[in-house]
């Protein structure tokens, strides 16, 4: 054992490399979007259905659609998909109560067989919430 420092360094580098590689592999496999009709602006309390096409790779995935405003998100879809397949369907609906406040639509994909429930990919876009006609008058 003539070079303990070198051995330590090599072992640590190997461990870090392997763990980082493992995390990278988990992040690569995720569903991808063929299309998504998420709105850019809605009227307060208008309920808008989001349609989409999703390409699901090999494996079991879960999809959730969320309306987020004022630090809270409400989920309107929870869907388990088994890949590989192409899915076209309603991906839930979004609705926002308060006009003028920042809001987002989110689509989150999870690996169904991952006990940690980690999100593997997310799609987020801001939404302008306009006052309802009765509110605007």
């Amino acid at each position: 054992m003539r070079y303990p420092a070198l051995l330590t360094f090599l072992a640590a580098a190997l461990v870090i490399g392997l763990l980082a590689w493992g995390r990278r592999e988990v992040q690569v496999a995720a569903p991808s979007l063929l299309a998504l009709t998420a709105p850019e602006s809605v009227v307060a309390d208008e309920r808008v259905t989001v349609y989409g096409g999703v390409l699901v790779p090999e494996g079991r995935y879960e999809l959730g659609t969320y309306s987020c405003q004022a630090g809270r998100c409400s989920r309107s879809l929870w869907l388990t998909l088994e890949g590989p397949q192409e899915v076209w369907r309603s991906l839930g609906s979004v609705s926002f109560a308060r006009s003028g406040e920042p809001a987002t639509v989110e689509l989150r994909a999870f690996r169904a067989d991952d006990p940690s429930g980690a999100v593997v990919a997310v799609w987020t876009r801001p939404v302008s919430v306009l006052p309802a006609p009765s509110e605007a008058e």
């Binding site: 995390r23 979007l33 299309a35 006609p133």
Partner: protein, 169 residues
């Protein structure tokens, strides 16, 4: 003296080995904590690549069947049409919408996740929208509401998707 030398020369390598082992174990624990504890950056859900070869599908209804007639598509509840576009094209249509709670029937036209038109329609609009790249085109009515006597509905007329190359002589 010789016993002492023997003790010295026999003890140092095993101590070094222990120190090295402890350092490796500490490195493993620290690396695990660092990698697991670091806030993970979640990648964005990516757009799927255009199919190759790209074969235009024509307009399909929500269940994947070809739309029988594009002269008039009546949408009395939330629904969508889709078509795979393989070259730059122009989408033209007329839409007639009715309002409920003061909000018209929302017509959403998206290429992938990019909105080309996304507005409530109360009355009639005529659209001619450039579709500049290949991808899936979706036309949706997505804010249906029925509160008698108010009823949000959408009717599409003369839906046409024509490649720009068809216009050049």
């Amino acid at each position: 003296m010789s016993r002492g030398e023997l003790r010295t020369s026999g003890g140092r390598p095993s101590r070094r080995l222990s120190v090295a082992g402890a350092l490796v174990a500490a490195a493993v624990v620290l690396a695990s904590l660092w990698l697991d504890g670091r806030p993970a950056e979640v990648p964005e859900l990516q757009a799927a690549a255009a199919p190759s070869p790209c074969l235009p599908t024509g307009f399909l209804s929500a269940n994947g069947e070809p739309v029988p007639s594009l002269e008039q598509v009546r949408m009395n509840s939330n629904s969508f049409l889709r078509a795979l576009v393989c070259e730059p094209s122009v989408l033209s249509l007329a839409a007639e919408g009715t309002a409920a709670r003061g909000v018209g029937a929302r017509l959403s036209v998206h290429l992938g996740s990019e909105p080309l038109f996304d507005d409530p329609v109360d009355g009639t609009v005529t659209l001619s929208l450039p579709v500049e790249r290949p991808g899936w085109l979706v036309i949706a009515f997505n804010n249906d509401l029925y509160e008698p006597p108010q009823d949000r509905n959408l009717v599409l007329r003369d839906v046409r998707l024509e490649p720009l190359s068809a216009e050049t002589p």
